[in-house]
């Protein structure tokens, strides 16, 4: 096995690796700006300087030459080398800032160069707090600047595209954004304009940066030059807490982090998952915060004398249990949903299995041609594969419409699916039914339903979703509901503000907690009301039961999903399966 010595410590490596990536893989630190593991290596920021040397091989004996002390003679490269572009070789000796004064000096001088024209506007910059330039200047930078002249001024507040704003003065020309559009999104929309100290990234004249993946450039920008039009000036990073979750706006299920402050989702950023999305996510997925924050159903609603009124949970439970108890067999139609989690779908499937002859179906929401072969799928819903694997009957929109209009059924139970919005049912046809809508957001279906039950979104519950490639991943609650408390639930994340904030702080209130519960929990309460055997205390019990009962889900658990960044299910969802 090849060996490499970093700061006098021996490491072993196999195959080809760059020195910087190897150092990072060991959990060691080396400052850098332009390097990104998924992009090409231009080595233009020069921040990852190291001293590098190789042992001298005696060509005649084939042995390494030794000095008087019996140590290998090391021939160092005459200048500092950029670790990002340097291939590790057998016997290589690397000195980083830990052991080399020269490297420390080099890093400091590079930072001084980079900072010559960089504005000192950290207090109003969105990147502050998560800015590699800020962090590395603190750690490795000079204490002041020797540059006494006017800084070069460049364009500010340039709307590069609908979702990205450029502040060219902050740019350090690492070209990560340009390389992203060339190598990852392949839209080739960005370039570096001009040269020397006047250069900055820009689109070609007359074009805009409307790449469907454009906000990824904001994430990889190592300074505050590119900011998201939407998130700009909304929150400081240290005020938010982040929770691992997944993107629920299409069937790819990109791994994301949900950033909340005072139980509002402020932004959604991609989380590294090499099996699904690498470091990226589509812009559309970041809009999901609107689903989590806005237009939410809070408290159950009922139609009384043609008026929709807020009602108590008890009243809603009683009404539904009465109707279901009195319903004739075979007259209840249940819509499971590709928009709901595996747990919720399983719960609704199992709950209604206790009523003879009840039809449980789901209607996939596929819009052909809207996807690409990267991270956007034709399938608009996050869990079609999950429904299929659970063995819920798949019905297309026309068939479902026919079922609703047939007059065969009297009661409709709809999980999350916006039937009216999708054109499967009309407001008029729904009024013919006693309809229960278990939904997260107000929409035309919720307004037409006899009883509306508010349920949790992916940002508020533990839920698993099976993506288009058959990979099951899970979400954790990022927002509190009226009935959850991040101080008590150790699985919820807490940011600084959650830990130490008081009512006297900015941004701390209890105003943003929604009065809702997970759909499975509502069904459990309903079963209490109706004296049915249907008991779960937490989502984990449901997923464990699925793992035992359904062979497609065999062996899965929340722990494995967390540890292995999701689990590829054995059976591909395209297979026809019998109901569990």
């Amino acid at each position: 096995m090849a060996e490499i010595f970093i700061d006098n410590k021996r490491y072993e490596f196999e195959g080809q690796t760059k020195v910087l990536q190897f150092i990072l893989d060991q959990g060691l630190e080396l400052p850098f700006f332009c390097y990104h593991p998924s992009l090409s290596i231009p080595a233009n920021c020069r921040q990852c300087y190291v001293e590098a040397g190789q042992p001298v091989l005696n060509r005649e004996t084939g042995e390494y030459e030794l000095d008087d002390n019996g140590e290998r003679v090391i021939r160092f490269f005459p200048k500092l080398m950029t670790a990002c572009s340097l291939d590790a070789t057998d016997g290589m000796v690397i000195k980083t800032h830990v052991t080399s004064e020269l490297v420390r000096r080099g890093q400091k001088d590079i930072l001084e160069f980079i900072l010559i024209n960089h504005p000192l506007d950290c207090p109003i910059c969105d990147q502050a707090g998560e800015c590699p330039l800020q962090i590395q200047t603190y750690k490795y930078g000079p204490e002041g600047s020797r540059f006494e002249h006017k800084k070069v001024h460049k364009p500010k507040r340039i709307q590069l595209g609908p979702r990205v704003v450029l502040d060219a003065e902050r740019c350090i020309n690492c070209t990560r954004c340009v390389r992203f559009t060339e190598e990852i999104s392949k839209s080739n929309q960005l370039t570096i304009s001009q040269r020397g100290d006047h250069n900055y990234p820009i689109t070609a004249p007359g074009t805009e940066f409307d790449d469907p993946y454009s906000i990824n450039t904001v994430d990889i920008c190592p300074v505050g030059a590119l900011t998201s039009t939407d998130f700009r000036f909304k929150a400081r990073v240290w005020e938010m807490s982040s929770t691992p979750s997944i993107d629920i706006t299409n069937a790819k299920g990109c791994a994301v982090d949900i950033w909340t402050r005072d139980n509002l989702v402020m932004r959604i950023t991609p989380r590294y998952n090499p099996h699904v999305n690498d470091y990226w996510m589509p812009d559309a997925g970041r809009e999901a915060y609107k689903i989590y924050n806005e237009n939410r159903i809070s408290r159950p609603e009922m139609v009384v004398n043609k008026d929709s009124i807020k009602t108590s949970w008890n009243n809603a439970l009683l009404t539904i249990s009465e109707k279901l108890t009195g319903a004739e067999t075979g007259k209840t139609l249940v819509f499971a949903s590709a928009y709901a989690s595996v747990e919720d779908n399983y719960a609704i499937q199992q709950f209604f299995a206790r009523f003879a002859n009840t039809t449980v179906i789901y209607v996939p929401d596929i819009k052909p041609g809207t996807g690409d072969d990267f991270l956007i799928t034709d399938d608009q819903a996050p869990n079609s594969s999950g429904c299929k694997l659970l063995g819920i009957n798949e019905v297309d929109a026309d068939q479902a419409k026919g079922m609703i209009d047939s007059g065969t059924y009297e009661t409709l139970v709809i999980l999350q699916e916006d039937l009216v919005g999708r054109g499967i049912a009309s407001t008029e046809s729904l009024t013919q039914y006693f309809s229960v809508y278990l939904g997260t957001n107000n929409n035309s279906t919720s307004r037409s339903a006899s009883v509306t039950i508010p349920i949790t979104t992916a940002a508020e519950h533990f839920g698993s979703y099976v993506n288009v490639d058959g990979r099951i991943q899970r979400t954790l609650p990022a927002k509190e509901t009226l009935y959850t408390d991040r101080r008590l639930d150790l699985q919820m994340s807490m940011g600084r503000l959650d830990h130490y904030g008081t009512r006297f702080d900015n941004w701390v209130s209890d105003n943003n907690k929604i009065d809702c519960i997970p759909a499975w929990e509502f069904l459990v309460r309903l079963s209490h009301e109706m004296n049915l055997e249907f008991r779960y205390n937490e989502a984990r019990e449901i997923i464990d039961e699925i793992a035992l009962k359904n062979s497609s889900f065999a062996g899965i658990s929340y722990e494995r999903m967390d540890r292995e960044l999701g689990i590829a299910l054995q059976d591909q969802p395209s297979k026809e399966l019998n109901p569990a």
Binding site: T181, T191, S193, A204, G206
Partner: protein, 182 residues
Amino acid sequence: MQNFEFTKEELAKIDAIIARYPNPQPAVMPVLWMAQEKYGHVEPDVQKLVARTLNLPEAHVHGVATFYTQYYKERKGKYVLDVCTSFSCQACGGYETLHYLEDKLGIKAGETTPDGMFSIQSVECLGACGYAPMMQITNDVYVNHLTPEKLDKVIDDLKKDQLPEFESIPLVQNRTTAMENE
């Protein structure tokens, strides 16, 4: 709006340029140059023409065009007078030359005369310090050892579309020989 197109002959020439390289990127510079010689500038629409012709992203061509100051990203006069004001020329009267031209043509550096004949630019070192003060005309001929009289003549000639001849001035190669010759 002007319609920018390459003629068939030009396209054949471009194909020959592309054939010289393993991929089309390196052809951007010569093709931009062709376009500038044809239209006198490489405004965004001309950059688009180049991108279209080479089947490359517009942004890439824009990046190349803005990198080099010799590509004119906006319309200039027929003759662009690049007056060197870097160190050597400055010491020998570069700014006097520039100001003399500005007064004579009634425009400032960076501007174009209303008749579209002349633009003046103050540029950095053109690598001809031995000829200071000097200027370059439209990325072409160098005019050396400028004096007001010489500038008058150059401007008059240019108005008659006569580019000045390049005068080669041998530099002193060997100090002792030069002294002996004196």
